[in-house]
């Protein structure tokens, strides 16, 4: 008996989201079917209002779809609006989020912002602290660990947010325009960070972005328009393009 192929990190089938009804009915996302493999970093492009954020929040299990299903790591977690698991616990264990604004908790220091995510996963305070410091060191903000978010630059805040997102070694990292508030250099650094993390840890990352200057770091690029997503295409300029082929 041979083991089957590993489950993809994320799979959505006919994901649809409709807001309102009657005259006010708006289809924000229609029949979105996507498959993201482990270790893959994908970009999601599209104009404002195309449904990118709706897709991201649906697969992030914070905004249930009207219909369709979400599979994460081979597990069906959302079937239409019906949750099939404790979504909050699932997010804690399997997902990491990074946003346009860093979204750090303002009353926690940089280290504590990462540590809280680890402690929520039942790590002891001591071990969580150690790992948080390690992660911040890895991301180059170790020396800012005892500073509050307001005392950090935008780039430093975003690195702390990335550290928090990857702290629990999630299967799926979801990022919504994470470089919008950063200059191009720092933006690129963050994108490369996602790539490194996904490749080294076997996570998948979906990054909603408008920043076309850093598209070369992605393995695959999807585009959305009017709630409809394309089939996605491998990125020929990706450093690993040759390997994949």
């Amino acid at each position: 008996m041979t083991a089957g192929p590993p489950h993809p990190a994320l799979e959505t089938r006919d994901l649809t989201k409709v807001y309102g009804e009657g005259n006010t009915r708006v289809v924000a996302m229609q029949d979105v079917t996507v498959r993201v493999e482990r270790g893959e970093v994908v970009a999601l492009l599209g104009p404002s209002g195309s449904g990118k954020s709706t897709f991201l929040t649906a697969v992030g299990l914070i905004n249930p779809p009207t219909s369709g299903s979400v599979w994460i790591g081979g597990e069906l977690v959302q079937d239409g609006p019906r949750a099939l698991t404790d979504l909050r616990a699932f997010r804690r264990r399997k997902m990491g989020f990074v946003f346009q604004k860093s979204n750090l908790i303002p009353f926690l220091k940089a280290r504590e912002n990462v540590q809280i995510a680890l402690e929520l996963s039942s790590l002891s305070s001591r071990e969580a602290r150690r790992r948080a410091l390690q992660l911040l060191d890895d991301l180059g903000v170790g020396d800012r660990s005892e500073h509050y978010p307001t005392e950090l630059s935008g780039g430093q805040q975003q690195r702390v947010a990335v550290a928090r997102a990857i702290a629990n070694e999630p299967a799926l990292i979801l990022a919504d325009e994470p470089t919008a508030a950063l200059d191009s250099n720092r933006g690129r650094q963050v994108m490369e960070l996602f790539r490194e993390i996904a490749h080294e840890r076997g996570s998948a990352a979906i990054v909603v972005t408008h920043d076309h200057r850093a598209l070369d770091v992605f393995d695959r690029i999807y585009e959305m328009e009017d709630g409809v997503i394309d089939a996605g295409k491998p990125n020929p300029s990706s450093p690993d393009a040759g390997d994949r082929e």
Binding site: R88, F97, I105, F107
Partner: protein, 402 residues
């Protein structure tokens, strides 16, 4: 990681100001409780301290504190003769208001039965008990008199020979102790002019009557000094106090209840009269006011905690997004509420302990009352946080994304 403590640490100024506000509010709640306790203590202080088993007062009155009572001095001997009575004492109580140093001075005057009672039982902090039948006075500290001060009361001058502490009448006035004779003199002694006017009025009345024509001696008597008129009543007492043999108080009371001119009360009966009569309305008023203040404190705390929660809604949504279970969010709000309540209580206690002794009436903070208030504060902290918790639980993690 304790999020409540982290939030407080980060917003220390806001937390301190919030606690100060809550603390001052709780201090008022605490103060109302203290005033309530003070009124009860003041009301029953004399009854408890005087140490009598039976109080014999004017028939059908609730004297001597709840209402005026007058009994003849001869009652002392009748009471002393009752089987079961070990000793009987005269008791005079009345309140006067004089001016001293340009300010009104209210004194509750208590007459002690000289020479049996010289005030040895009084809590003296300075000086000595009474040493003579006249012109000496033991004053409570609250009256502002000092040892060896002299004070003019009626036609006589009295010297302060002792200072007590905590001896107040039910109205909160400081008590001054003299002998019964002096207390009567202070109450009833008239000025020379008043005596002259009264004598003139007597003479006029006698002139209108036919009796002096029929009996000239009667007319002469009417114009003579009061002291030489045997028909005038003697000075009255307020009550007669009796000490009964152990276990015979009821028997003494039963005997006295057969007398048609007086009524007897036990010490507990006197306490009851005071608490149910004199101070009942004040107690009820303060009790209700205290309950109202507690409700207001709860509402204000709830609003503060709700506002603090509103400030953190985005952070709470973020916590939910990263998978924080509800108990973590509940703990954040509840612990902060309890922390504000606890620090507020300590501030209230510290401020109150400093401020209350400066109040004109006694504010008594007893340990059971403080423990009760601490429990109430804990309860209102929990109750007040419910609104914030309700709001926090309704926040969608989606709000962290927007």
């Amino acid at each position: 990681m304790n999020l409540a403590v982290r939030d407080v640490r980060h917003n220390l100024g806001r937390f301190v100001l919030t606690c100060l506000g809550i603390g001052m509010l709780l201090m008022i709640v605490m103060g109302m409780g203290g005033i309530y306790r003070g009124i009860i203590e003041d009301a029953t202080l004399l009854v408890d301290r005087v140490d009598a088993d039976v109080w014999v007062v004017q028939r059908d009155t609730r004297g001597p504190f709840a209402e005026l009572s007058r009994v003849p001095p001869s009652l002392l001997h009748r009471v002393a003769a009752v089987p079961g009575v070990v000793s009987a004492r005269e008791f005079v109580f009345h309140t006067i208001q004089r001016e001293r140093g340009g300010k009104p001075l209210r004194i509750a005057v208590v007459g002690l039965s000289w020479p049996e009672d010289r005030g040895d039982w009084l809590p003296l902090i300075e000086g000595r008990p009474l040493a003579q039948n006249h012109y000496e006075l033991i004053a409570d500290r609250s009256l502002g008199l000092r040892l060896d001060d002299t004070i003019q009361l009626g036609r006589e001058t009295y010297r302060v020979v002792g200072i007590t502490t905590g001896m107040l009448a039910s109205g909160g006035d400081g008590v001054a102790f003299t002998t019964v004779r002096d207390a009567q003199a202070i109450q009833l002694e008239l000025s020379g002019e008043a005596i002259r006017l009264e004598r003139e009025a007597r003479r006029t009345r006698a002139g209108r009557s036919e009796f002096p024509l029929v009996q000239p001696a009667l007319g002469e008597r009417a114009t003579a000094p009061s002291a030489s008129i045997p028909a005038l009543p003697t000075r009255t007492l307020t009550a007669v106090l009796a000490s009964a043999e152990p276990g015979r108080t009821e028997e003494v009371l039963e005997t006295i209840s057969g007398w048609s001119d007086v009524t007897g009360y036990t010490t507990s009966g006197q306490r009851e009269l005071l608490l149910m009569g004199n101070v009942a309305k004040v107690r009820a008023q303060i009790g209700l006011f205290r309950a109202l203040l507690t409700a207001i404190a709860t509402i204000i705390m709830a609003l503060i905690l709700y506002t603090l929660t509103l400030d953190k809604l985005h952070d709470i949504a973020l916590l939910k997004l990263i998978g924080a279970p509800n108990r973590v969010i509940l703990a954040l709000i509840l612990q902060q509420a309890l922390l504000i309540g606890a620090v507020g209580f300590v501030i209230a206690l510290a401020l109150g302990s400093w401020l209350f002794p400066r109040f004109p009436r006694r504010v008594i903070l007893t340990e059971p009352d403080l423990a009760q208030l601490a429990a109430i504060v804990a309860a209102i902290s929990v109750f007040a946080s419910l609104l914030g918790i309700w709001k926090a639980l309704r926040v969608s993690p989606n709000e962290a994304v927007g």
